[in-house]
Every structure is written in structure tokens, then in C-alpha cells.
Symmetry: C2
Subunit: 329 residues, 2 copies
């Protein structure tokens, strides 16, 4: 497996030198890092500035990733390429021109919604999903043009199916699991996963406990058997990892993720009043040093070495190569 990249297609850690070292120690070549939940454009620029300082401070560990070739470069140089994404379209405000601006600034994934209705589509927590809005259809076309990947991890079913259909390029669900394995609101039904992968899209498996069967107590073998079943249903080439790791975050962050500035009442999202904080990670995936454990689990579940390589990063690398450049005009 030494020649295959490790790519995690979603993390939102409380980043620190310690975690950058753990990325290195875990052999993680690329991470898709969330830099917006509810931020405006200007606030996202402040988040980019914070990352720029880290790139300046820790050049031996991390750098800004823009393309699939940056993953190869990271692997060669023993560093980690950081790719940026938004879990909400709030940073593009009501301005379609900000899509290209954000791509120029290095953004490579954007969710059309984060749980709630957005200007573009409907989130998975709304009662009624009305699909892509007028702005949403324009935004998908513009994202296709510039090479910004449509991510429907937190969207409703109809919106997701319409985005798959509207998009001229394959889209992604970067961090979720199949609903048939664990029927969480955030996990995706078979119909959505078939449509996604049938159109060339990618699913990143989450190890966030709320997305796991039995939560924190989920076993590695249960997780890997689910991946094996998904490979049979959708084809191994459409599967990757998107851990949704929120390492070292204080609980006020999950409150921000769920409530932003939109709610005066506390929304507990996937948690509850009794357990409002971040759930504890399963013991087989605590941080970035545990990707080897997942790889071993996949091998034990019957995957070939090539298939393990594909799931651990090879498939995302192919997708990065296809997705991040502007459409040929």
C-alpha cells in the first residue's frame, strides 16, 4: 500500500501543530478541510488568512492544495496538502461571481446546504424539500464551469437528486454513510447513493459517531462490512473516506455548527439536550494516526490491496484530477 495516497475528504479539527504532526505521522497526503459553516465571504477570507499563517509557520508539514498533482507532491515531500471547502454556501452570499473568486482562493468543495434551506437548495433538516432554487441551478452551472465540486452531504433527498441531475460533472457526498446501515437523518438512502455513483460521483464514509451504527460503540468490522456492501451495490471506484473528524474542538463549536446565527433557541441537531456536545470517537479511529487501522479493517473484510488503496485515497485522487480544473472552453 506504500504507493497509494491517503486522502480524508472531510475534517473540521481545532487545528494545531500537534494535529499537523499527527497528519504527517498518519501518512495523510491530503485533507479536505471545512472553513465555513455560517461564515460570510469576508469571514471566510479571515479563515483563509489564519490558514496562510499556518502554511507560513509549518511549511515542512502542510501546504495549500489546489489540484490532484498537489496530492502527489505532498506524498513525495512527506507533507499534507490542505484543500478547502464550505459546508454551506453562505460565503457566496447572493453573488454568483463569488463562486469563481472562491475557486481562485483555493476552495474546491461547496455544500449547497447545511441542514437548513439555503439560497441554493434544501437542507436535510427541513420538513419540505423544494429542490434546487433558481439561484441554485445557476450556481451549479457556475461551479461546474470553474471546477468547484458540488457537495450534498447535508442536503435533502430531492435537492440531492436534482443536483446530481443538474450537474454536468460528477458531484460528491464527502461525509455520510448509507441509511440502510444506520438510519440517521444525515445518512443517505439507497436511491440517492445509486444516483450519485451512477453519475460518476463519490461517497466519503464518515466515522462521526452519529453516523455510525451503535455510535461510539460501532465496531471496525461492522463499519468495514458496510463498506463492502456499499462496494457491491455502487462499485468500489466511487467510495472513499470523509471522516468528519472534529478533533480537539470544544463543545461550543458543535453549538455554532448547529445554530450559527440563525436560531435563538438551541438546536441540538444530531445530539440531544441530554448529550449536546461532540460524541466520543470510536476507539479504532481517534485521530489522523488511525487510517492504517481502517485500511487493515477493509483488508480483513475481504477487499484486495488494490481496492483498499482505492478506498483510502486512490478514488479521491482520480476525482480531484477530474474535478478541480475549469471546464475546457
Amino acid at each position: 500500500m506504500a504507493d497509494a495516497p491517503i486522502i480524508d475528504c472531510l475534517q473540521y479539527a481545532n487545528w494545531s501543530e500537534k494535529i499537523f504532526h499527527q497528519l504527517h505521522d498518519g501518512g495523510v497526503d491530503a485533507v479536505h478541510v471545512t472553513i465555513a459553516y455560517h461564515e460570510t465571504f469576508r469571514e471566510v477570507v479571515l479563515n483563509l488568512e489564519t490558514w496562510n499563517r499556518w502554511f507560513e509557520q509549518y511549511p515542512e508539514l502542510i501546504f495549500a492544495g489546489r489540484s490532484g498533482d498537489d496530492v502527489r507532491r505532498a506524498r513525495q515531500e512527506g507533507r499534507t496538502a490542505i484543500f478547502f471547502g464550505f459546508q454551506n454556501p453562505s460565503p457566496i452570499e447572493d453573488d454568483i461571481g463569488l463562486i469563481e473568486i472562491c475557486h481562485t482562493l483555493g476552495i474546491r468543495f461547496m455544500q449547497l446546504t447545511y441542514n437548513n434551506q439555503s439560497l441554493l437548495a434544501t437542507g436535510c433538516y427541513e420538513d419540505d424539500d423544494t429542490g434546487l432554487t433558481r439561484f441554485g441551478k445557476q450556481a451549479v452551472a457556475e461551479m461546474n464551469r470553474v471546477g468547484l465540486v458540488v457537495d450534498m452531504s447535508h442536503s435533502g433527498k430531492r435537492s440531492t437528486l436534482e443536483a446530481i441531475d443538474a450537474s454536468s460533472r460528477p458531484i460528491a457526498i464527502t461525509h455520510a454513510n448509507p441509511h440502510w446501515w444506520h438510519p440517521a437523518l444525515r445518512n443517505k438512502c439507497d436511491e440517492v447513493l445509486r444516483a450519485l455513483t451512477g453519475a460518476g460521483g463519490m461517497l466519503g464514509f464518515s466515522v462521526y459517531p452519529h453516523h455510525l451504527k451503535d455510535g461510539t460503540a460501532c465496531t471496525l468490522s461492522s463499519f468495514c462490512e458496510m463498506v463492502a456492501e456499499a462496494a457491491e451495490r455502487y462499485g468500489v471506484e466511487h467510495l472513499g473516506i470523509g471522516t468528519d473528524l472534529c478533533q480537539d474542538q470544544p463543545d461550543k463549536i458543535v453549538e455554532w455548527m448547529r445554530n450559527g446565527r440563525w436560531s435563538k433557541q438551541t438546536d441540538f441537531g444530531e445530539g440531544s439536550a441530554a448529550a449536546p456536545g461532540f460524541p466520543k470517537q470510536p476507539d479504532w479511529f481517534r485521530d489522523n494516526r488511525d487510517f492504517g487501522t481502517i485500511a487493515s479493517g477493509l483488508q480483513s473484510a475481504g477487499f484486495s490491496s488494490d481496492d483498499v488503496d482505492a478506498i483510502m485515497g486512490g478514488n479521491w485522487l482520480r476525482f480531484f484530477d477530474q474535478s478541480f480544473k475549469a471546464e475546457a472552453s
Copy 2:
């Protein structure tokens, strides 16, 4: 002269398809385009969005330039590379992190001041020049680090000398003429020009009538003899063109340039109450199709073909190659 590039290192036209065609017809390979006089960061992003739409609409004529190689590419493909610059540091607001963000967005020149005192330095219209501010010194170092050129065209003498001294990389005065030829407030004294060029910097000669001896009536031979005298004093390798062409702009634009949002009284800048608008161009330089006329004038003034090539674009190209990349860390 067919193999040498033509580069104009300052224009602020009222851009249109007509002007893009004139750039092509004039064989202009690269232009440094002003996109900020008094704009905030968010307003500059809107200006970039406008340019992005033009790049999408007229790909056969223009594209976004980032490096010296883009000038070579423009020349090869018969297009014009557009390089962005600010005549005022207003877009970085009070936030040093915006310098790298703006560089990522393609900004390649930033004046530390536009006539007035700024957060960074003192403009050439203030009574007292106190030199680089605390923020100004930090900003110059950060501009050096990321590859954003310090431009002192509208700065005071002390500020300019201090910027030349503080900058670890050569700086530019993109659009001005020597004060000894025409003693306008905006033209630069011999001491400044010696310091600028002695430190490897570049001077772009302006053909904006207020910067010309005899204004609109200035003759081509007077202009070219001035260039010849400057070449003797400072070395031909430090000289280029920065026309300050403001083609097709309505007079309300020169009012905006002079007054922005800072003045309730009308400041007439280089004009006067009797002649508040844009002055008429000299007949030997009306628009982008007239660079050949300047080149011929330089040859008549005694320059060799190689020197004409250097002044018309070769020197700026060398400077672009040296200046736009991040410092090796």
C-alpha cells in the same frame, strides 16, 4: 522589434470590447490595470468579478496574467495578459493578511498611497510626509514575501525613499515622469529616481497630459528626448512605459479618483475648477494602437533597436519575472 513584448504598466480605461480589440491591434501583450482607487476589499472583489466576466466573454482577446510567462504566452497566442494593481492600499483595510489574499486573487502592484496619507505612508499631496507608518513597514515586508510590488507613483518623497530602503526587492514607480523635465507635483525628483533605479527599481513613463511638458501639446520628440536623458542618468534597463491612459472615461471618474469618499469639497487634483475633467491626450498617443509611434520616436531620439525593445516591454518583463513570485523560503 517583432520578438519583443509591448507592456503598458498602467491604464485605467473604461474597458470595453472596443478597447480589448485596440489592445490586440496595437500588439499590446500585457497591461497593468488599476482596479482600486478608494475601494474596500469587498468592492475590489466586485471589480475582479467584472473582469472575470470579461475574461469569460472575450477569451480570444484577454486573459488574467499572473507571471512573466503569461506575457510570453499572450505574445504567442496574440492576446493581452491583464495584470491587476491598486493605486491605494484601501483594499487591504487594516488587515495585513489581505496582502497575501489579494496576491492569490492576482493583484501584482499596490501603491502605498494615493495622494493622501494612508495607513501605510504619505501621499504626494499632503503638506507633511512622515514616511512609512508602523503598519507600512510591516506591509512592505509582507508584500516582499508574497510577491506584490510596491508602487510609489502617488507617494511623497520621504515615503518613497523610505519604501525603496525598506523593501528587500526592487520597487516601481509605474506611471510618472522626471520632475526636471516637467515640474508637476506627481513627477519625481532626481534624488528619488536615482534611489529607485539604484536599487534595481523601474520607472514607467506616463503620457497623461498633466505629467507632460506642455500638457496635451507636448511633442513626441520632447517626450523621447526626456527618455533619452533619463536613460543617461539612470540606465536604460530601469525604464519602461506606464501610460496612465484613462481612455473613454467620463469626467465623473476623475472626480471619483480625486475625491473618493473622503472629501465633501471638490478637490481638483492636477486639474482646476476651470478645467476639472480629463485632459485631452497628445495626438501621438490617443489609444493602445499608438505604441508603435512611441517606439519610432525613441528610435529617432537615438535609441538602438535593442534599447527601444527594452523600454517598450523587455525591461518590465524582466521585472515581472523577478517580482511576482513568493520569496524563496
